[in-house]
């Protein structure tokens, strides 16, 4: 997986806040700060992993980047074009370049629609192919993701979970996008099938030169598939590093704790686990200062009042922490 340092997608200080309404008049009482100031460059041909616990805003980040959520604040620059304020008509050529693979492929397929029709839909909207050409293209897609031609006529309920995810992948690559957001694409699958889908994703990337934003909570899969990893906590960036640096030299205490918490499939080797106290605080009422200070084992007074700056500690390795 060669990565040239050419920026494909630039995300600048992106925020997504959801209003919380309450009372008789349904006034906006508060905001859930799902994504709170993310600045990122995504390079052409790379796989950028986004990890964090549930509720950290990683999925919302993926959806916001694709324009599926409106921006609260910030800029999205795709291939040098600032698309943050584009209308949906202006966005159409860009949407062709960006696709998404969802966690639960069954929920994202219409149960009454044949697989062939579901796959043709994107081609109807984005290309001028005739119906014969479309059918040809869909059959070729099915083969490419490891399904058979006869699956064209079938309905979603006739497939197993792994096969459905293959359909989800086929649909995402049908119009030759350059950028795909994968939102937990393998977490609903059994381990043996999970490995098959990971392999498929990697083969397709090589073949089509795809760029992935890979959202996952499974740190094992992320290590296996990604070039760089972003760790998020309560909508904010905690650590960003090339994959080997992050796993061999995790610097932020949250990353350390996250990595040490993974149960390892090896016996006999007792590891000292960093125990994190408590749960994730509510994103509608995040702690002041460093968002992690309430659970951090090395928090000092400064951490509860002052937000740590985002700084580079090593080439390509960024963290936000006062103490490290």
């Amino acid at each position: 997986m060669a990565v040239d340092e050419q920026v494909l997608y630039s995300v600048k200080n992106v925020k997504k806040h959801f209003p919380v309404r309450g009372g008789i008049l349904q006034r906006v009482k508060n905001h859930v700060k799902a994504v709170d100031g993310i600045t990122l460059d995504i390079y052409k041909g790379e796989t950028l992993g986004v990890v964090g616990e549930s509720g950290c805003g990683k999925s919302t980040l993926g959806r916001t980047i694709l324009g599926l959520e409106s921006l609260t604040e910030g800029e999205l620059v795709f291939n040098g074009n600032n698309i943050s304020n584009y209308s949906s008509r202006q966005l159409k050529p860009y949407k062709k370049e960006m696709q998404m693979i969802f966690q639960d492929p069954y929920a994202s397929l219409n149960p009454k629609q044949r697989i062939g029709d579901a796959l043709e839909e994107a081609l109807i909207i984005h290309t001028n192919l005739s119906s014969l050409e479309r059918r040809e293209k869909v059959l070729q897609l099915l083969k490419e993701v490891g399904l058979k031609e006869e699956h064209y006529e079938r309905y979603p309920h006739e497939f197993s979970g792994g096969q459905r995810q293959r359909i989800g992948i086929a649909r995402a690559i049908s119009i030759n996008p350059s950028f795909i957001v994968c939102d937990e694409p393998v977490s609903a699958l059994d381990v043996s099938v999970q490995a098959q889908v990971i392999k498929l994703l990697r083969d397709l990337q090589e073949k089509h030169g795809l760029t992935y934003l890979f959202v996952s909570h499974d740190l094992g899969v992320v290590r296996h598939l990604c070039n760089r990893v972003l760790v998020m906590y309560l909508g904010q960036m905690v650590e960003l590093a090339p994959v080997h640096k992050l796993y061999e030299n995790p610097t932020h205490p949250y990353t350390e704790a996250l990595l040490s918490a993974i149960p390892r499939p090896t016996v006999g080797r007792k590891r000292e686990r960093i125990r994190l106290k408590g749960d994730l605080p509510s994103p509608s009422n995040p702690p002041t200062g460093c968002p992690f200070h309430t659970r951090c084992p090395i928090a000092k007074e400064q951490c509860s009042t002052e937000k740590p700056a985002w700084r580079e500690i090593d080439e390509g390795h960024f963290i936000a922490c006062h103490e490290r």
């Binding site: 796993y247 149960p263 994190l276």
Partner: protein, 335 residues
């Protein structure tokens, strides 16, 4: 040698269907000793949860134990009436489920639900049960337990709910705890907390545990012994070190090679081709042979016998028979 708490023999559990009974568990035999943790590993549809539900007497109405026995402390649970079973369940054997939000009743307080088994099984008064409930919540590491007693499940986080479930399951000091994927719905940091808690409590209370999971990492953290299930059958059994360091069955090997290793960047992911067969699929011989890279003629015709690799590790695979001829040093006897 510690005493045996649970002895399951040739358990067959079937489900009614339009095409006649479909077996979900096909003759499973295993035992659990006092203070031991047994992990049942396998992918969805392999029959691991149904095995647990059969022991608990909680099979859905279309399922039944068709054959075999389940001896728990010298009594056969498979032959007990629902009424007798009620006295055992939640008292001597209890269970934790994957999704604590669906296992807890949303309209009753945590206190009500934790008092219930104490009042029914131990005949405590409401007041005594309340005090004991607070102690239990404290034991599972819930902060400010007195206030939690009056809260509803939706007011708690996922990790806290699972702790409440554990407190309820342990309320009557069961000698066997069955945990069905208790950490699958939780985040890694919370999962680590729950695993530590289960390990501590097991030691503290000297109980046996059956842990059902598909996560090989969790198995390595918690198990003493491991059973690997595939399509309703136990295909390999052994001590946890044996299963991880010297797996014999191609499926066990495949399962271990399918989990990306966090510590090894060069780890080569080798998926198992195909997917788990459906309950109604007719497969001759070894149930794994359509997916097995080493399958040969015999695998398609005859169901494999059990071969012993060591006195604790056994495997059902015809390759073992060949293995004896290739390296005679290994002791292999058939049952």
């Amino acid at each position: 040698m510690k005493e045996t708490v649970l002895e399951v023999k040739d358990l067959v559990t079937t489900f009614k269907s339009a095409d006649g009974p479909l077996p979900a568990v096909r003759g499973a035999s295993f035992s659990v000793k006092k203070g031991e943790t047994l992990c049942i590993v396998g992918e969805s549809g392999c029959g691991k949860s149904i095995t647990a539900l059969s022991i608990m007497g909680l099979l859905p109405s279309n399922g039944m134990i068709a054959d075999g026995s389940i001896f728990f402390n010298q009594r056969n649970l498979a032959e007990m009436s629902p009424k007798q079973m009620q006295k055992v369940r939640g008292n001597e054997v209890s269970m934790i489920f994957q999704e604590p939000m669906t296992a807890l009743n949303p309209v009753f307080t945590v206190g009500f639900q934790i008092r219930e088994p104490l009042m029914i099984h131990l005949k405590l008064s409401k007041k005594q049960a309340h005090m004991r409930g607070i102690e239990l919540l404290k034991m599972v590491g819930i902060p400010s337990p007195v206030e939690r007693m009056n809260q509803f499940p939706h007011e708690l986080s996922g990790g806290m709910r699972q702790r409440v479930m554990i407190a309820i399951a342990l309320s009557c000091n069961p000698s066997l705890l069955i945990a069905d994927e208790p950490t699958t719905a939780l985040d890694v940091t919370i999962q680590a907390q729950i695993i530590d808690l289960l390990n501590d409590l097991k030691e503290q209370l000297d109980m046996s545990m059956i842990m059902i999971t598909h996560d090989m990492g969790v198995v390595a953290e918690i198990a003493d012994r491991v059973i690997v299930m595939y399509a309703g059958e136990i295909i390999e059994e052994g001590r946890v070190e044996e299963i991880f360091e010297n797996p014999q069955h191609p499926y066990t090997k495949g399962l271990l090679a399918s989990v990306p290793n966090v510590d090894d960047p060069e780890f080569d992911l080798k998926p198992i081709a195909g997917s788990m067969p459906m309950l109604n699929e007719q497969i001759s011989g070894c149930r794994f042979h359509p997916r097995c890279p080493y399958a040969f003629d015999k695998c398609m015709e005859q169901s494999p016998k059990t071969f012993y690799v060591t006195d604790k590790q056994s495997v059902r695979c015809w390759l073992q028979e060949e293995g004896v001829e290739q390296n005679g040093g290994r002791r292999a006897s058939s049952l």
